[in-house]
């Protein structure tokens, strides 16, 4: 395949990755890494470098509109980023001690279960829980433009969410993937934050975690310019389109898309764990 054709095809694939990544809050890497390695036979290290670039591009590209339109909650993001960045730092050290294939399998099973769990929408009663004192003190409660108008929400179970975020960071430090999935699940399932706020806040956060890793991987020579160029431009275009769609999309549909993507991610993790390819 000539460089011209390769660049074009990778750009198209990346566009889809950016679209799905911005809609689900997972970043583009979930789609990109398996496609690059299986379809284009790209070495996994180049694929990881490109994937990190794609996560930052998705995050920053879509976050601009998510933040301005009041979907992402910047306080939730900043508070939880302490946990994710610390977790990522510790995960990088732990990676040499923990058998990553076992970890990948556990994570895979967890994702399969979450794929089932995250399909369910919350009832009206579950949406109107009284505020948690800790969440109030940290000023995490907020509002966002729902389809029917402005909707307020109260954040629940802050300590559980914070711990899960630490786990999300550690996972991404050890496995190089998956932090977005745990972020969305922690906010959606544990903290009971509305789904659109969960995914857009995750989208806002993943850029920071990925930036630290991307710097490290660029320094190690994993980020190839010829490969990253179509990835970055394609993903960016996809994420800009995704951020327009999310605003008008029904939460039920977004949950279904999310569920399918993490199901695929779960199967990926199980496969990698079983065949020792991580």
């Amino acid at each position: 395949m000539s460089i011209l054709v390769f660049t074009g095809v990778v750009a198209i694939v990346s566009f889809v990755a950016g679209l799905l990544g911005s809609l689900t809050g997972l970043g583009g890497g979930v789609v990109l890494v398996p496609l690059l390695t299986i379809l284009f036979h790209v070495d996994i290290r180049y694929a990881i470098g490109a994937s990190l670039v794609s996560v930052i591009a998705t995050s920053s590209g879509a976050a601009a509109s998510y933040v301005k339109e009041g979907f992402s909650n910047i306080r939730i993001a900043m508070f939880l980023e302490i946990a994710t960045t610390l977790g990522a730092l510790c995960g990088a050290f732990l990676a040499t001690w923990i058998p990553t294939n076992v970890l990948a399998m556990v994570f895979g099973f967890m994702l399969l279960y979450s794929a089932f769990l995250s399909r369910k929408t919350r009832t009206e009663a579950q949406r109107n829980l009284p505020p948690d004192p800790l969440a109030t003190r940290l000023r995490l409660n907020g509002s966002f433009p729902d389809l029917a108008g402005k909707r307020h929400y109260n954040v629940q179970r802050v300590p559980a969410g914070f711990s899960l975020m630490y786990g999300a960071g550690a996972l991404s430090g050890m496995l190089g993937v998956g932090s977005g999935a745990v972020k969305v699940l922690a906010m959606d399932q544990a903290m009971e934050i509305p789904f659109k706020v969960s995914t857009t806040t995750s989208n806002f956060m993943i850029g920071v975690t990925a930036a630290a890793s991307a710097g490290v991987y660029l320094g190690r020579g994993y980020v190839d310019p010829g490969l990253s160029m179509p990835v970055m431009l394609g993903v960016l275009a996809g994420s800009l389109l995704g951020s327009r769609i999310l605003v008008k999309a029904e939460t039920k549909v977004l949950r279904q898309v999310f569920s399918v993507v993490i199901l695929v991610l779960g199967i990926q993790m199980l496969y990698k764990g079983l065949w020792g390819k991580i």
């Binding site: 460089i3 020579g221 980020v223």
Partner: protein, 142 residues
């Protein structure tokens, strides 16, 4: 005087003032957009040069060789941009892209300081510190 109706349990009644940092949100949104557009423009420039020169060579990412130092460190990238290399320009754009979220965190500290929100200045400073710590150990600057 009529008896007050039973309170309806709506979330907003429990939080009289939900926090909306509209101004900070707008500033951060603009920063992210500017950062991503600048880096995209630089990558596009570099990409055009690269494709113009190498379009018909075979693409080969099957074997990992690791990037040479002029695509791996900041001084190396700057040198290759000076030499007019397309791939150097792409790496420069990617460095801008990586810097964007870090600038976002740094600017948030300023934003929360203007709002006199000490707790969040502290939170954000911790995040920035951890980020810089992991980046400085990466060999990117040497």
């Amino acid at each position: 005087m009529a008896v007050a109706p039973a309170p309806v349990r709506h979330a907003h009644e429990f939080t009289p003032q939900p926090w909306r940092d509209r101004r900070l949100e707008r500033i951060l949104g603009n920063l992210l957009r500017a950062g991503v557009l600048i880096s995209a423009a630089v990558v596009l420039c570099g990409g055009s040069i690269y494709l113009f020169r190498h379009a018909h060579e075979p693409a080969d990412y099957h074997v990992f060789r690791g990037e040479p130092s002029n695509y791996r460190t900041i001084p190396g990238v700057i040198q290759s941009v000076r030499d007019g290399r397309g791939r150097g320009l792409i790496q420069l754009g990617l460095l801008f892209l990586i810097a964007t979220p870090i600038f976002r965190v740094a600017l948030s500290i300023v934003g929360f300081a203007i709002e006199r929100d000490r707790l969040y200045v502290l939170f954000t400073a911790i995040v920035l510190f951890i980020l810089l710590y992991s980046l400085l150990g990466s060999g990117l600057t040497s």
